[in-house]
Amino acid sequence: MTTKFSIGFLPLVDAALPILAHVHGFAADEGLRLELVKDVSWATVLDRLLYGHTDAAHMVAPLAIATTLGRGRPAQPLSAPFVLGLNGNAITLKSDLAQQVAPEGALGDPVAVGAALREIAMERKAAGHPLCFGVVHRYSSHNYMLRYWLAGCGIRPDEDVEITTVPPPFCADALEAGDVDGICVGEPWNSVAVERGAGTIVLATAQVWRRGVEKVLAMRESVMESRREEVEALIRALHRAARQFVDPEALLTNAAILARPEYLNADVNLILRALGDRLLLHKGGELIHFPDFMFQYREAANFPWVSQAQWLYSQMLRWDRTPYDPQDEVKVARVFRPDVYRSALTGTDAPLPGASSKVEGSLHQPMVVGTQQGLITLEKNAFFDGRIFDPHDLAGYLAQDSYAK
């Protein structure tokens, strides 16, 4: 007896886990018949989820939080019991701009690239043509990572540079047409821009925050409550898919599956690069290897740390320029559901951290932490500027940012 469970997604490499859980039969093994619903905007993915066309969705993490808080849509509590991946995005600049701020043939150092970019940003602002960057959604990790990096380098988003929304499939067009000077987007869209000769990759978002939360599995809280057993079965299937995702032997097969017309409908070679942490920075260059460009499995990567949601909330306040609200923080902390993750994977060999929150950005070297089955090692999770986010002092963290800066 199988139950139907539908999941909305955008055609991006990090929609991999639900797709692989379906195609490899991991969901079927758990008694679920997944139906994957492809859309082309986050707005539509969200609308289908909110009005019951889908049971769950592949979603940019900040959007799940924004929806819970009623930003952009009437408030509806969403739950994220599983993280579909960390990082996997990059910043691509128009090639002439990239040449001025980044080393050739290698990813730059975020501080050095930022310092060089700042000079150009200020010149452009003075000339009345400020630099413009495209991000995939207002409430996306891309937006927050880009802004965090720019602001940390003394470039004030919205004041010194413009940031606008560009749908991923149009990013290469927008760079080529000169509508934007840079983009922050997931794969395969940076690589598409590179292949078209429209831009050069200068940074991976993993350089901004080594373990930055990216997409989550989101669903209405009421659906999660009423279909709890199926949700836990889905989490087990996704966890199996994550383990399989990082198996080098499965790389080619997985890339071929994702490339299919019904999923990403994209060049299998570009997908293969992302899965293998390989990047071609500029057209005609050589592939470089950037370990953990996408981070899908190790170190309990899929565990929804409440502190990650809280960091995203801090950035939402910072860039929406709205004041801190303790009641909102409670709602935000409830979006990420480590309790459901643990409950689903109890009795398996998946490491289940004992804590639900951690100090983000505090690890500059590997650290051993306790889980229910023993110890796991967490590697560096640092932010590029060395700042530390203590979820118990969100207000204090915010006070460090002068909004006007």
Binding site: A43, T44, Y51, R138, F170
Partner: protein
Amino acid sequence: MRIAIIDESAVRASVMQEGLAQLGDCEIFVITERRGLVRRISEIDADIVLMDLGNPSRDVLEEYFAVSRVLARPIAMFVDDSDEESIGASIDAGVSAYVVDGFAPHRIRSILDLAIRRFHAFSRLQTELSVAQSKLAERESVDKAKRILMQTRGLGEPEAYAELRKTAMNQGKRIAEIADAVVTAHKLIGGAA
């Protein structure tokens, strides 16, 4: 009242426009171009914006509305959060609506109902069209296969058709499939199609 229709399908946009024109007191603006969308929409200053759910630029439009919320005429997402039924129906039909805050709810309802009906009408039209197109293609293929049989085996037209039909029945396939096979085989062995 001013209604903007954003749709990259010019045909569907005109189906919508035609429907909404019945309302009489509406000025309707159609945007089919992706570039410059935000500038156009701000120039039009619409009371209602209709956009198909399959349009990747929805996120761009919503970003613009979110930013322009501070302006004099804030735009609400969709209709109204109390009108679940309308929203559900519009999502089923594949159209989203954005409405200036405070716009008369009964007017919104009638416009949205109309938009939904036009969207459904368009998808029916498309289905009919694709059925008609595939029938046409099938007929062409059967005609070609008949000509090939008539030329290569010296059959008359009724006999050639009977031959195709008999083979189809024997193999449990459709005549069009057999016809396709004949045409392909003929091409492969060097015949003119």
